[in-house]
Symmetry: C2
Subunit: 336 residues, 2 copies
Amino acid sequence: MSDHVVAVVGATGAVGRTILSVLEERSFPLSGLRLLASPRSAGTIVSTSWGDVVVEDLDTADVTGVDIALFSAGGDRSRRYAPAFAAGGTVVVDNSSAFRMDPTVPLVVVGVNDAAAAEHHGIVANPNCTTMTLMMAAGPLHRAFGLESIVASSYQAVSGSGQKGVRELTGQIDVFRDQVAALMAGTWEDPGADLYSRPIGFNVIPEAGTATENGYTDEEMKLVYESRKILGIEDLRVEPTCVRVPVMVGHGVSATLRFSNDVGADQAIDVLNQATGLEVWTDKTPTPLDSAGIDEVLAGRIRNTIGEPGGINLWVVGDNLRKGAALNAVQIAELL
Amino acid sequence: MSDHVVAVVGATGAVGRTILSVLEERSFPLSGLRLLASPRSAGTIVSTSWGDVVVEDLDTADVTGVDIALFSAGGDRSRRYAPAFAAGGTVVVDNSSAFRMDPTVPLVVVGVNDAAAAEHHGIVANPNCTTMTLMMAAGPLHRAFGLESIVASSYQAVSGSGQKGVRELTGQIDVFRDQVAALMAGTWEDPGADLYSRPIGFNVIPEAGTATENGYTDEEMKLVYESRKILGIEDLRVEPTCVRVPVMVGHGVSATLRFSNDVGADQAIDVLNQATGLEVWTDKTPTPLDSAGIDEVLAGRIRNTIGEPGGINLWVVGDNLRKGAALNAVQIAELL
């Protein structure tokens, strides 16, 4: 791999920071590092293993000579800047949802559909974090057995909403901590939800994302459409429910998978034991806390379906900032 | 209703205390109140709206003349004492799992299968709290449309494990609160899980209950077997995943329901709007915090299935100490 000039766009956000950590951990072969962010963050000095880097203003920076740009600055900025970067010869790995369903943009989970990355026209999209986590198990199982349907309920961490999600949970825990009896009695004092529609401290919000016309949230529809695109199954049947939980990091998914033929839990475990980037835990149950800070997605509770035999019930959990976002983006850059 | 002598067995536990509150709120027509608990709690004086009551030792108390005993003292004590109470003429409403699957013992969700209570031979069983919550929606939908299958993932509060669950979460939050960065990085200091297999603070544990031989937990198998018994559907297909979440009170369930014929979300909402003990929320999403301290189970996010049309995806949440336990037990007593 020859050395490249790499730009991180949205460098001061939760995912941007993790991208920088992942680049450092993997000693990414770069000859130059540029950090770009909104005018508000421009001028900040960030210490990296390649020396101190001054954050530049995305609106005004000249990005001539940047080979790869890892975007994690929200869909609006991606739509505005990514095509221009690509037109100038930069390959963009975009973490937003802006281009994921564009038929000319590959949507890549490294370890699942790597070959798709080669088809890019300047932009490669990084999937939604919940979808990514589930695909790490669903991908290998699909290749082995032919996936037909998924029923999924998620348990999504607040860092999936960025640093403001973490701050909202932390603040509410502080307010709620001394109200245990009031929480039990339903007489709690509202700590004032801002980011989410309801308090997330000591609560779960069974509606992650923004409502769409069909009653599902955009987050849920991503699980439907992105899964189909990543796995290349146009008619994959998905029933999605996305729920926010008071966890800092680590998105979990409880899923029922069905295949074109009956599959047993032992067969599924054998397949997943061979998968890259995934660890199967059979002696204990992997939790979000176990997944935090590691690259591997963890799978557990792989059981034969009991209501209607022939399918698999399982649990997967992964660090939404790493494999769910930053790690996969860097892995895509490594592929390119 | 003539006045009765009522005993609360396990009066000092989380559910026992809630039973007492519910009896007071409903001005239950009782002519005498007895509070029984383990020797450790005997002698405690409890203030009630019927005056101060001294907690008696369950092992030595003479319960002659008790008409109704509301048991919530664990399966072992139910197995040991409930048959003796029943033999002496007391009707036992048992909140443990000890007798739920006994074919001679009715398993009753008031509002769903009230008529079954009349068939008792001295013991009526109160269902599992997660099952109860789901049945409040599944029952009316079954009567209207003929339920065939359920795929369910739960979000269960720590008070479902009693006061020690609440203490464990509270203690871990205290330890974790100042470790936000460490929680994100996976370098957190273990606060020492005791009741649960893993820390529950800022985490979810996708294995509520105790593992059984088939890979499902006892809690998950209750959702299978108790649903079948309550609804009277021997071949009901259930795929259960029970997950503990860091919530004080309020069990939620994300479920996909399928019926003998196609059902639309509007039809389901119409049916559930007529149901007793259940509120349908369509303008906002009901959360565990919203359910805390109230008698009604809340249903929301009632959507047409999109993967395979014809079914319903929905969310239900209820106070696990009230309708999930104490309230239903008192409602059974009111039926008797």
